[in-house]
């Protein structure tokens, strides 16, 4: 069995002007593993994900997928790499100009030589996997509720049966029941695909449900990483404050003192 991690980040640094958002991120995700990166707002979770996906270029450090360096990778090469990737965006990011089934079948129609009818049929099957019926197929994404949009986004993310799936705040904006449904669907889909998954979230319930392992990011660094079962006994005051949701502790929250004064 290969010991090469599926995703490997070493010393990743990303700055926006004088502000250092990522300050040397080190993280490994093994093949078939599901890892959740947790952290407060503005801690650099989304930037980490965008750097891995190549949507942003880090100033320093190395990001490898399957042992291949992806920082400053040529566009064509990255397009090929992206074919093994699925991504569920925070607000689903469905294409307004396409119907639900066209969204789900977008990559299918792009890579495989299938006709419109077959693509639609495959989209219906993927929608069924996330609990949606054929009746939503021809609807415009703008007509869907938040939970349904997330489900369609999930169906689109898994449509090409990717080896690597990313989830950006999958439960944000959903009520707790719908949030739990989405979490369960993510677990089911990732298991069925046998994929490696990386989730960023600040929802601890979601992280506990989805992940095998959790990494906590704070001030642009991974301050703790370990199995889900160990997070309640991490011994790390930053992690403890975050999972207990306490105001007092080592985590510096911008404007907190002013707001509570």
């Amino acid at each position: 069995m290969s010991t090469e991690p599926k995703i490997s980040l070493r010393g990743v640094v990303k700055r926006f002007g004088p502000k250092v958002v990522l300050n040397g991120i080190d993280l490994d995700v093994a093949t078939g593993e599901s890892v959740a990166i947790i952290g407060g707002s503005g801690s650099g979770k989304s930037v980490t994900l965008k750097c891995i996906l190549g949507l942003m270029a880090p100033e320093e450090g190395s990001i490898k997928i399957d042992g291949i360096e992806t920082v400053r990778m040529a566009t064509g090469e990255r397009d090929r790499l992206m074919r093994q990737v699925g991504m569920l965006f925070q607000h689903a990011a469905l294409f307004d100009s396409l119907s639900v089934w066209e969204n789900v079948a977008f990559a299918l129609r792009l890579y495989s030589n299938i006709d419109k009818q077959e693509a639609r049929q495959q989209a219906i099957e993927k929608l069924a996997q996330v609990g949606l019926g054929e009746e939503v197929c021809d609807i415009n994404p703008a007509e869907l509720s938040g939970g349904m949009r997330k489900r369609v986004g999930l169906a689109r993310a898994i449509a090409t049966e990717p080896a690597l799936v990313f989830f950006d705040e999958p439960t944000t904006g959903l009520d707790p029941i719908m949030g739990d449904i989405i979490d369960q669907l993510i677990v089911k889909c990732v298991k069925e695909l046998g994929a490696t998954a990386l989730t960023i979230t600040h929802d601890m319930d979601s992280a506990r449900t989805i992940a095998d392992r959790i990494a906590m990011i704070y001030e642009g660094k991974i301050v703790w990483a370990g199995p889900v079962s160990e997070i309640d006994h991490s011994g790390n005051p930053i992690v403890e404050q975050f999972i207990e949701g306490r105001v007092d502790g080592p985590i510096e929250i911008e404007g907190r003192k002013r707001a509570l004064a």
Binding site: L53, L55, M87, A93, F95, D96
Partner: protein
């Protein structure tokens, strides 16, 4: 105080150069994707409909009234030295060489450039462009190239229609209001019209079409900051497309004038 003023000038110049550099890279990348496969013919066709067919009412109305006003104004001016017979010739040359492409370009800039910036800008702020990338689709190939191709191809056709309707506007006013003989007016219209008059207008139209799509895509692509950012991108797209149309109009005219 003096140094602060110099620093301000420096900042403005640096910001201008940075924008010019970004625009040059964006243009080069967009043009490159117009010539390299794969081509999304369905998207090109959809853009051609949106830019060409749906702009026809705006172009038609504008051209008609421009031709009509031109005939009235030239009649007033030329009657001062008994040259009323030149109205038809000046209307057709004015419309084909200048007013058809420029007025048409400005109208399409208002309609199309704004729509492109708003659509692509919304896609940017709602992460749809990022989603394209994660679906291994190059946003330049999917969003920018079809718009550049469609606008560059459709603008000359629109201007050709504008030329015909504009000349008809002049004809309608001249024959109904200024008592011109219809046959004589048409004879005068085509008597001194040369191929170059129409061709130079169509070349201008192609350049304007490219600029309109480029500005719409560039500002949409680089929008940020939610609804306000999209609004800003839309305004910037229309303003910059209009300025570039007027600048390019002079440069292309100069080019044709020199040859």
């Amino acid at each position: 105080m003096r140094w602060n003023f110099l620093a301000l000038i420096g900042r403005v110049v640096l910001a201008f150069l940075a924008t010019a550099g970004r625009l040059a890279i964006f243009t080069a990348t967009g043009v490159q994707h117009c010539f390299l496969p794969p081509w999304y013919f369905r998207l090109i066709g959809r853009q051609m409909m949106s830019i060409g067919y749906y702009s026809l009412p705006v172009i038609g109305l504008t051209a008609f009234f421009t031709g009509a006003v031109l005939a009235l104004q030239i009649f007033i001016g030329s009657s001062r030295f008994n040259a009323e017979s030149a109205v038809a010739t000046i209307v057709v040359i004015g419309i084909t060489r200048e007013l058809g492409p420029v007025i048409g370009g400005l109208m399409v800039a208002g309609r199309v450039s704004a729509a492109m910036a708003a659509e692509i800008g919304t896609m940017r702020v709602t992460e749809q462009i990022d989603a394209l990338t994660t679906l291994s689709t190059n946003p330049f190939k999917y969003l920018v190239a079809p718009r550049l191709i469609a606008a560059t191809l459709m603008m000359p056709l629109l201007v050709l229609v504008a030329d015909i309707i504009g000349v008809f506007g002049g004809y309608a006013v001249s024959t109904t209001k200024l008592n011109f003989n219809a046959g004589m007016y048409l004879k005068r219209t085509f008597e001194f019209l040369e191929f170059e008059d129409v061709a130079s207008g169509l070349v201008k139209a192609a350049v304007f079409g490219f600029l309109i799509a480029l500005m719409g895509c560039y500002h949409g692509f680089n929008s940020s900051g939610g609804a306000q950012g999209v609004g800003r991108a839309t305004t910037n797209a229309v303003v910059s497309a209009s300025i570039l149309i007027l600048t390019a109009n002079y440069l292309v005219t100069e080019l044709f004038f020199a040859t």
